[in-house]
């Protein structure tokens, strides 16, 4: 038991180091990386409506330009409209051969860490979707697409979403700080997983809706609270969080699920793809989360074999997490109350 506790403390130090680097050096990166979205709807044999939605990053537009092939002609030139947190661009094009085989480029995407979700809807009911990554910033429209391909794309989106969702990772790290043994760790992570899956599903299907900015502020406050509880635990005090961490993990997991849902609901995906997309997105989130936990524990277990970590170090780790969370909380509350972030 004592060995596991020391291992977890080492895990925290590592997690704090990882997240502090990401979170404090690039505060904007504390929010989820929201993908851009390209939707192409066929309206008749040769015409297509194009919807191109790009997220704002710290108030700045994403530096990515949509480049269509030369064989495409514009019937309606691009028209931009600002939305809360994003910019929407619409145009109408005329294109040959159902677009099949045409290459669409996203100029500048390679310099970002943002994905682009592409959906194509043809009049005959065929659909195609894909996630375009910065490493290959183009999309070749297929004639047909398998459902496994769609599922795999969403799986990868889920993994990326959690690995760049630093506040969620820090919450998991802060939970590990108050967990004393393997059994409680498994219970706590399972409770968190079940809870965020529930709200992710409800929010994605549109059954429950919460505005993003307050959810993000509450997520930051949840990390701060768990970090404060960790300090209390080191002082020998008792509380609900310390005694039953899985209860708190479940409660806050419901909140974090709304955060995960943000990336999916923002896209306004067609309903027929939602169950498959949701399932594999969630599996991807779990894979990412478990990878993070496994990596941190592996290093922590190794470090505790070599170095000695005492109580002052545990308290420092909790204060480190709390400081980062407090910074995010103030930043997000400021955005809500003084910058109109709720709109």
């Amino acid at each position: 038991m004592a060995g596991f506790a020391r291992c977890l403390v080492a895990a925290h130090l590592l997690a704090v180091a990882v997240v502090a680097m990401l979170g404090l050096i690039l505060p904007a990166a504390a929010h989820e990386i929201r993908p851009a979205y390209l939707q192409i709807d066929q309206t008749d044999a040769r015409h297509f409506n194009i919807l191109w939605k790009t997220p704002l990053m710290s108030g700045m537009p994403l530096p990515v330009v949509l480049k269509l092939p030369d064989s495409v002609t514009h019937v309606l030139e691009p028209q931009e409209r600002p939305l809360p947190g994003s910019i929407l661009q619409k145009r109408i094009i005329s294109a040959p051969n159902d677009l099949a085989g045409l290459r669409i480029e996203f100029v500048g995407l390679q310099a970002t860490i943002t994905d682009v979700l592409v959906r194509v809807n043809w009049l005959d009911g065929r659909q195609a979707s894909a996630i375009v990554r910065p490493s290959q910033p183009w999309y070749v429209v297929p004639a047909e697409q398998s459902r496994w391909s769609v599922a795999f794309d969403y799986l990868k989106l889920g993994v990326r979403h959690i690995l760049y969702g630093l506040d969620h990772l820090l919450f998991v790290a802060s939970l590990m700080l108050i967990v004393r043994n393997w059994r409680v760790l498994v219970k706590t992570i399972t409770a968190f997983t079940i809870a965020h899956s529930i709200t992710l599903g409800l929010a994605t299907f549109g059954l429950v809706a919460l505005p993003g900015p307050p959810v993000e502020a509450l997520v930051a406050l949840s990390i701060l609270l768990v970090a404060a509880e960790a300090v209390r635990m080191e002082r020998g005090e008792k509380s609900l969080t310390i005694t039953w961490p899985w209860v708190v993990a479940f409660g806050f997991g419901l909140l974090h699920g709304f955060g995960f849902a943000g990336a999916m609901t923002d896209l306004g995906l067609p309903r027929q793809d939602l169950p498959l997309a949701l399932l594999f997105f969630n599996i991807g989130v779990e894979i990412g989360q478990l990878t993070f936990i496994a990596a941190i524990l592996a290093v922590a277990y190794s470090a505790r074999l070599i170095f000695t970590l005492g109580k002052p170090v545990r308290i420092a780790a909790a204060y480190g997490i709390g400081t980062i969370a407090a910074f995010w909380a103030v930043e997000r509350l400021d955005a809500i109350f003084f910058s109109g972030g709720l709109m």
Binding site: M21, L22, A29, S302, L305, I306
Partner: protein, 188 residues
């Protein structure tokens, strides 16, 4: 086959994963760095707890110093031979089962740390991005060595010791191959 094509783009940035993950993964995807860190980890792990407690901070310090001095280096030297040599010597000590004095393991850790740090010098667009990239490389490299050293420390049973020696012999073979490839390519 694994070594030859990778050597040509050993310094290529990992695109599309961001500066942090590109830095974190750098020691894992550049074969010469990976070989050197695996070999040093095995060596200090097999040399005992005191060697680990000395070797890991020295490696971390050397890596940090090299990464921090990267902006001052206008033309970074090719560290492939230094990395392969550090890997070769470290892994050969483990393979032969010799007990290296602590100062030797410390020196090898310092050489490997400096070589990895120079080899992985961040090629980022801004100072912040370079800082993030370099810090992540340091974290990834030290984490890898810590895990391998712990595995070496825990290898107490006979078959485990044989296993570490077999792993080290593979590193020796890979490092020799790497050095041979470097020699051939430099004489052409």
């Amino acid at each position: 086959m694994w070594l030859a094509p990778q050597g040509a783009h050993a310094h290529g940035a990992i695109e599309g994963v961001g500066d942090f993950y590109a830095g974190l993964l750098h020691p894992f995807v550049v074969p010469a760095e990976l070989l050197a860190l695996l070999a040093i980890g095995l060596l200090i792990g097999r040399s005992g707890l005191a060697a680990c407690r000395l070797g890991i901070p020295i490696l971390a310090g050397a890596m940090a110093a090299a990464l921090a001095s990267a902006p001052a280096i206008t033309e970074a030297p090719d560290m492939t031979i230094a990395l392969a040599a550090a890997a070769l010597v470290s892994a050969a000590i483990v393979t032969t089962g010799l007990r290296a004095p602590r100062w030797i393991t410390a020196c090898l850790a310092m050489v490997a740390g400096l070589a990895v740090g120079i080899d992985a010098a961040p090629e980022a667009n801004s100072r912040f991005a370079a800082l993030l990239n370099g810090a992540a490389t340091l974290l990834g490299g030290v984490a890898l060595v810590t895990i391998i050293a712990a595995l070496g420390l825990r290898a107490e049973k006979h078959w485990q010791r044989i296993g570490t020696q077999v792993a080290a012999s593979w590193i020796v073979a890979s490092a020799v191959l790497y050095l041979a490839l470097q020699l051939v390519s430099s004489t052409r």
